[in-house]
């Protein structure tokens, strides 16, 4: 493990039996898991290169229990890591050796469906897809759709502000959440927002969304649902250069067209995906665009024609247009299976996640190829072309000495490059532990201090999910002081990891 976590507090570990007994009084029966074998499934999330058994796992089933667990931990100085379905790709739910892992998997109820207000109230353990399925019969759906939507929980989606291919047109999680019930580290239960479009006061819902489980534990959420578009069709367009494909993306947008989804794959990704799902992808192109248009039939038919014409002008060499729902899904099958497809051609891979200004795409891909040669590792690219969100997959073999370290160094270089060209470190997977130490590439100490001060407003002792997102732990009292000089930490004795 190359990323360091806070040193476990030995005094907490020494009280482990006492802590477990106290937690069992709050959550009786099978709600507390303490044996090493049973805790095994909880020792990592989707970033499986990093593993750490927690001190104990607690699986509450009511808000009251969540509140009491947090209050107990707060009073006893015990760290807590919240966890949904564990599909985070950035280590956001990685346990701590001296911490309680608080699983929300039992919060599985859909509490209310309100079609008149176009809102659904759910518990955080409900999967993203289950929300859409619950309202499908009436022709509604929940727009954000991360690739993991069959498994990922809505609470985790809010923690990570995770999006999916629909983001460009329909927004991210933060644009589709109306309110929540949240439990602070002190055990205090608050309700923020509801079915109205806006909250009173500061937009706390807005800052909780994407806060990676560092501000509070969500026990209920109200999301906005949308009426399903009448129809959707997709184009699959091949180009002889990434530049031409990038130009096509820019031209579609400047023509005033915002597709429901606009995805790009480079040659290695196309070949891996085609070998896996046989979607009929052209193998002699350098870049493949899948552009989906959704809405009323008449609109989709017209826009398909406009996009096809734009693609031709940009030098497309192949263009297929779906004529049936089956064919549309086939176009997508390779893109959606790109990660497992790449998994077949490499023992291991790292999935990176950065966003760049779209115009920088050719430069970034060129530089990535140079890095690929430098590190001796292959890279395949799939990305949300519409919003510039890249997912380079770095292929490596963990059994070969040094390859994992090289892959991680390569990934870090890619993210530095994203920031260098005006982009950001993460577009949808979150910072977690994975990109934590890269935060100074994008933010100054002052920027990070301001974010950590906000953390203190919610969690004054820093007990909720510490070691994630921020490269340096701070004491709240220190952060509260005025006139911290640029770059000079007032407490040099506080450890950086």
């Amino acid at each position: 493990m190359t990323i360091l976590m806070p040193e476990p507090d030995q005094s907490v570990l020494a009280r482990r039996d006492e802590i477990i007994a106290a937690l069992r009084r709050i959550v009786p029966g099978e709600g507390v898991i303490s044996s090493a074998a049973e805790m095994k499934p909880y020792e990592s999330d989707g970033l499986m290169a990093y593993r750490q058994p927690p001190m104990v796992v607690v699986l509450p089933s009511t808000t009251k229990q969540v509140s009491e667990v947090l209050r107990y931990c707060h009073q006893n100085g015990i760290k807590v890591v919240p966890r949904g379905s564990g599909t985070s790709l950035s280590g956001g739910a990685l346990p701590l050796a001296d911490g309680v892992l608080l699983g929300l998997g039992k919060f599985k109820r859909i509490r209310e469906i309100d079609f008149d207000n176009r809102a659904v109230v759910v518990e955080p353990g409900v999967t993203n897809l289950a929300i859409s399925q619950a309202v499908d019969h009436a022709g509604f759906y929940y727009a954000p759709d991360p690739s993991s939507q069959i498994a990922c929980s809505i609470g985790g989606n809010i923690a990570e502000n995770s999006g999916g291919v629909h983001c460009l047109k329909y927004g991210m999680t933060t644009n589709n959440v109306l309110g929540c019930e949240i439990v602070l580290m002190t055990g205090e239960i608050l309700r923020i927002g509801g079915k109205a479009a806006e909250c009173a006061g500061y937009d706390l819902m807005g800052v909780i969304t994407g806060s990676e489980g560092l501000l509070g534990v969500i026990t209920e959420v109200t999301v906005r649902i949308l009426r399903k578009p009448e129809t959707a069709r997709a184009l699959m367009i091949g180009f002889q250069s990434v530049e031409a494909a990038g130009q096509c993306v820019a031209d579609v947008i400047s023509a005033g067209i915002i597709p429901g989804g606009m995805e790009m794959m480079d040659k290695p990704a196309i070949h891996a995906a085609e070998a896996f799902v046989h979607a009929g992808y052209p193998l002699d192109v350098e870049a493949l665009l899948i552009i989906e248009l959704d809405g009323p039939q008449v609109e989709v038919d017209e826009l398909i024609g406009r996009v096809e014409a734009i693609a031709l002008q940009c030098g497309s060499t192949t263009c297929q247009i779906s004529t049936s729902e089956q064919q549309r899904l086939l176009f997508w099958s390779g893109r959606k299976a790109a990660f497992p497809a790449v998994g077949r051609i490499s023992p291991d891979y790292l999935c990176m996640d950065g966003t760049i200004p779209r115009a920088q795409l050719p430069l970034v891909l060129r530089r990535m190829n140079e890095m690929s040669e430098k590190y001796g590792l292959r890279v395949a690219n799939v990305f949300h072309a519409g919003d510039g969100n890249l997912h380079p997959l770095i292929l490596y073999d963990a059994n070969k000495p040094g390859e994992q370290d090289a892959a991680e160094a390569f990934g870090a270089d890619i993210l530095r490059l994203c920031v260098e060209v005006g982009g950001v470190l993460t577009g949808e997977h979150g910072v977690g532990i994975e990109k934590r130490d890269l935060m100074p590439e994008m933010f100054s100490d002052i920027d990070l201090n301001q974010q950590q001060r906000l953390k203190c407003a919610f969690d004054s002792e820093g007990l909720l999910n510490p070691g994630k997102v921020f490269p340096t732990l701070h004491r709240c009292a220190e952060l509260g002081r005025m006139h911290v000089h640029k770059g000079q930490l007032p407490f040099p004795d506080i450890p950086r990891f």
Binding site: A196, G201, S211, P296, S444
Partner: protein
């Protein structure tokens, strides 16, 4: 009144540091058009940002624009319009309602007020379109939040807090906003003579349809009695108007308008208004023209009430009847504008007791100094949320230097 007109971000930082050192709270203004919203502030020191008015970068293909905080909205809107783009959240121009200079207002003022127009139901508000910001906190430190790309989850989304914080957390110096292509055309369906509750049902039906409605407003006949402009042109005496907007490429907007008209048949035979005539109607709704400060209700307090949309009709109808006031509805019933007859507390107590029963909240947007000093202008929060809000305020502005007391009486914010 001491006004310090700053010219760049460094001067903002210097000014805030001086204010901290002198323990002198400062009021932050752009063009000053929204100064009468919020609790009256006890300070004579004003920090004016109108000279920070440059467009730093506009990348139409990237769908973003970066401007200095004091850039005039009118200029920015005109610039993006020249590339056939717009702010999808359709921010209202408060000049009509407040009686301030027409066309004035800055980008940061718009964000600080957290504005949104009729397209809120589809596109969100200012919060949803603020991608990044540079600002000076009440620590006297320049910090940045967010980024300059449309998809970003790096660190806390501090931009959400800045939007709608009325300058109480930080002084924005530069902001990056998302822009989107302007729809090719628009169509408005007009239903006439519906009561508020029935109109609410019509709007709910339209918004629950697959026809992608981007505006749903209802104006009771009484609210239209004294209005001028686009709404007056189509209004008939004492007859309510219910407006439903469809936008997009021309063939689609026309097609959907026909489909929606059929779906709403039970509510009446809808008229169709197209393009510029339609746009004028929605500007009037956006800017709350029926309650304009130049109209006969100039002295009436005006409230902005946000509630679950389906509850709006019944609530508004009762409010108008019992108070003797007038209401109009936007966001399918989720936003109610209410002009109420003058009263010592501007009807705050009765209004809030009632709106809390439907899980809504109410903000006084236009009111006399006396009324504003006597009541909570912003909806009071439950104790726990208020305390958290105070802690958030202190995490940005520990000595309460910035717009002290504007959002809440008797607490830090």
């Amino acid at each position: 009144m001491d006004t310090l007109k700053v010219r760049d971000a460094q001067e903002v930082e210097d000014a805030v540091r001086a204010a901290i050192a002198n323990e002198q709270p400062i009021e932050i203004v752009g063009h000053g058009g929204k100064r009468t919203i919020g609790q009256p502030m006890a300070t004579n020191a004003v920090l004016e940002l109108s000279a920070l008015n440059a467009v730093a970068a506009y990348e139409p293909n990237e769908l973003i624009i970066t401007v200095q905080a004091g850039a005039p909205m009118a200029d920015v809107l005109s610039l993006i319009d020249s590339k056939n783009q717009h702010f999808a959240f359709e921010p209202m121009d408060t000049a009509t309602l407040l009686g301030t200079a027409p066309g004035a207002g800055t980008v940061a003022g718009m964000i600080g007020a957290g504005l949104a127009g009729p397209r809120r139901i589809k596109a969100g508000g200012a919060r949803d379109h603020l991608l990044g910001a540079h600002a000076v906190s009440g620590f006297g430190e320049s910090f940045k939040a967010g980024g300059k790309v449309v998809k970003n989850v790096t660190g806390y989304d501090l931009c959400k807090l800045l939007a709608g914080s009325w300058g109480t957390l930080a002084v924005m110096t530069e902001v990056t906003l998302k822009v989107t292509p302007r729809p090719e055309s628009e169509r408005t369906l007009v239903l006439r003579g519906l009561g508020d509750v029935v109109a609410n049902k019509a709007m709910t039906t339209a918004l629950g349809s697959p026809y992608d409605v981007t505006g749903a407003a209802h104006l009771p006949g009484s609210a239209l009695r004294t209005t001028a402009g686009a709404l007056a042109e189509i209004a008939q005496p004492d007859q309510a108007l219910t407006l439903l907007r469809l936008e997009g490429i021309t063939s689609s907007a026309s097609h959907r308008a026909q489909s929606l008209r059929a779906a709403l048949k039970s509510f009446g035979d809808a008229e169709l208004i197209e393009d510029e005539a339609s746009a004028a109607l929605w500007r009037a709704v956006r800017d709350v023209e029926p309650f304009a400060a130049s109209g006969p209700r100039a002295l009436w307090p005006v409230w902005r009430i946000v509630c679950p949309p389906a509850a709006g009709g019944a609530f508004g109808e009762q409010l108008a009847r019992e108070s003797g006031g007038e209401v109009m509805y936007d966001w399918g019933g989720g936003l109610i504008w209410a002009a109420l007859p003058p009263a010592a507390d501007g009807h705050a107590k009765a209004l809030r007791q009632r709106v809390e029963k439907i899980a809504g909240h109410a903000t006084l947007i236009r009111g006399s100094d006396v009324v504003r000093a006597a009541i909570d202008v912003f909806h009071p929060q439950p104790a726990g949320l208020a305390a958290l809000g105070d802690r958030v305020k202190r995490s940005f502005d520990p000595t309460n230097i910035l717009n002290r007391g504007r959002m809440s009486r008797g607490s830090a914010t």
